[in-house]
């Protein structure tokens, strides 16, 4: 092989190898830059006050950057969304994987893909014009922009993740498990309930966790329908504000290098770590199943 060709091969292979490791580099870079900006807050502000402070008043004097109400907001909306999407999503996954006739199955699967494809801001918009007014009249509250509205919309955003991963897990239960149950005279439902679901349980758990991860990180839709009031626990029919919505709503108004700017990056660090832990744990759960 001529020398220039060898050099070309060498350069190409080097590019391939560098790109292969790029994702590690990028994740590290994201964490580094969030931390670099977020750390600025703690020169003047104490970490416990940030994590456990009950007030988020970023522009009062002196400002307060307690993210507890934001954590509560995220938690409330997430729990509400999980309460809706986990039972529905798992049930739909079981139906699609085990019960639906094959044509309907393909149709439903495309439906789930369709739902996954709808942009968050479009779902937020639809939530504003349908769910929000409905909550206002149905519950007779002064505003429909509530934690409940956020939960409903986010439940739909978590659904594709939960349904498709749980469906995968159920689908990959070995056939002979089921055949064993049928051979013992079990009905299809008994087989699903007693054999298939337990066998697929770790996949279903991972599906739920990844769905929740999606909900925790969701930004636009939740910002559009929850009313964005940073107050402590009041209830599901009151406005709340989540961690993500706070960052999205306030970053535009901060001065670069101000405490407020640093504080929003500190929230970013918190969000990054939360989703990191959720994703790692979900992967471990999924991985254990394979062994």
């Amino acid at each position: 092989m001529p020398a220039w060709k060898k050099i070309r091969e060498f350069v190409a292979e080097a590019a391939v190898k560098a790109s292969g490791l790029a994702s590690i580099f990028i994740v590290a870079l994201i964490f580094y830059f969030l931390l670099r900006e977020g750390i600025g807050l703690f020169q003047a502000y104490r970490l416990p006050d940030f994590l456990a402070g009950k007030n988020w008043y970023p522009i009062s004097d002196p400002p307060e950057f307690g993210i507890l109400p934001l954590i509560f907001g995220t938690l409330l909306v997430t729990l509400g969304a999980a309460a809706i999407s986990v039972p529905l999503g798992v049930a739909a996954a079981i139906y699609i994987a085990e019960v639906a006739p094959s044509r309907l199955k393909e149709f439903l699967k495309s439906g789930v893909e369709l739902l996954a494809a709808i942009p968050s801001v479009v779902l937020g918009f639809i939530g504003m014009v349908t769910v929000v007014p409905w909550i206002k009249t149905a519950f007779g509250v002064p505003t429909g922009l509530t934690a409940l509205a956020g939960s409903v919309i986010l439940a739909f955003m978590a659904m594709p993740t939960i349904v498709s991963i749980a469906e995968d897990a159920i689908h990959s239960v070995p056939k002979n498990y089921k055949e064993g149950a049928y051979a013992l005279g079990a009905t299809k439902w008994q087989t699903i309930y007693r054999v298939v679901i337990p066998a697929a349980s770790s996949g279903i758990v991972a599906a739920v966790m990844l769905g929740i991860g999606r909900v925790v990180g969701e930004t636009m839709a939740v910002m559009m329908v929850t009313g964005n009031s940073a107050s402590m626990w009041r209830g599901i029919l009151f406005p709340v504000r989540t961690l993500t919505a706070t960052v999205a709503a306030e970053m535009g108004e901060t001065v670069q290098g101000s405490e407020h700017y640093f504080a929003l990056f500190a929230i970013g660090v918190a969000l990054f770590l939360m989703t990191f832990v959720i994703n790692m744990t979900a992967d471990m759960v999924l991985h254990r199943k394979r062994k």
């Binding site: 990844l210 930004t219 960052v247």
Partner: protein, 283 residues
């Protein structure tokens, strides 16, 4: 109490079907509502004119063009990088430990909240590199966001090319790189394309990553260079829905419809490519 198992089964299956419908029917409704309400607003003027009177009249051309620029930029960045990464993972990496770290990194990258990508883009591209709020910053941020989609789907496509093709190519005296280029990639192309288009759909619909990196609130002109700010469809819909009072609802629905059509079209194309090549797969 012991119920007849047949009856239990019927009840259980009905409940499962009902749950499935509860998931699916709203999806259909969302699309029908937007189609019905938005179709009236769509006209040539709406698609081809600048917004006027504080976005309460006129068209959405700059938002469409802006989204187009951002998506194009994101793909130009993410496709080469993602494809090379996929090639590395499928064809080169033997080190299983390193492979696992890369896999975990990709999983994490896929799970990072979209607004965190926005923060990252702000810190790195806008401020650190000094690109400012610009098409360049926004495209790079979106590109990093869709990288996991492209890596994962390209890798799947490359892995599904039979090992025998590689052996044949090598045995005919091709180098490893030639083998990848001529005996593997051409046959992985449909899968790579599918993943890329799905990534495009995702990038076109995302708002949070472009909030602080590029999106302009109201900018009724077309961009002149990659260092310009632009309007973008998803952000425009957000602005119309929450920041501008007294907007004719037709404009909102129309904007939502245009965005939805672009995103769903991308997905439909991806699904069609996948189905087409699956049906005529020759090995």
């Amino acid at each position: 109490m012991n119920m007849n198992p047949r009856v239990t089964q019927r009840i259980a299956f009905s409940a499962l079907l009902f749950s499935t419908l509860l998931v699916m029917v709203p999806v259909g409704m969302v699309i029908v509502v937007i189609l019905k309400q938005g179709a009236g607003a769509i006209s040539w003027e709406f698609l081809s004119q600048m917004p006027r009177s504080g976005m309460r009249a006129g068209g959405i051309l700059p938002a469409i063009v802006g989204t187009f620029c951002l998506v194009l930029g994101a793909v130009c960045f993410a496709l080469p990088l993602g494809l090379l990464a996929a090639i590395y993972l499928s064809e080169y990496s033997k080190d299983t430990f390193l492979n696992r770290i890369v896999r975990l990194a990709i999983i994490n990258l896929a799970g990072v909240p979209s607004v965190v990508f926005g923060l990252f883009g702000l810190a790195l591209f806008v401020n650190f590199f000094g690109f400012g709020a610009s098409i360049l910053s926004g495209s790079l941020t979106l590109g990093i966001m869709i990288l996991p989609v492209i890596i994962t789907s390209s890798r799947e496509a490359i892995d599904s090319v039979p090992q025998s093709f590689r052996e044949v190519s090598l045995s005919l005296g091709a180098t490893k790189l030639q083998t990848i280029r001529h005996a593997v990639l051409p046959h992985a192309l449909p899968g790579i394309l599918t993943g890329t288009i799905l990534g495009v759909g995702r990038a076109a619909g995302e708002t949070a990553p472009i909030l602080f990196t590029v999106a302009a609130f109201y900018l009724p002109r077309l961009p002149g260079s990659i260092f310009d700010q632009v309007m973008a469809l998803p952000y425009h819909l957000y602005v119309l829905s929450t920041q501008v009072p007294n907007v004719d609802s037709g404009i909102r629905y129309g904007t939502a419809l245009v965005l939805l059509v672009i995103v769903l079209l991308m997905n439909a194309i991806a699904i069609a490519i996948r189905a087409h090549f699956r049906s005529k797969k020759k090995w």
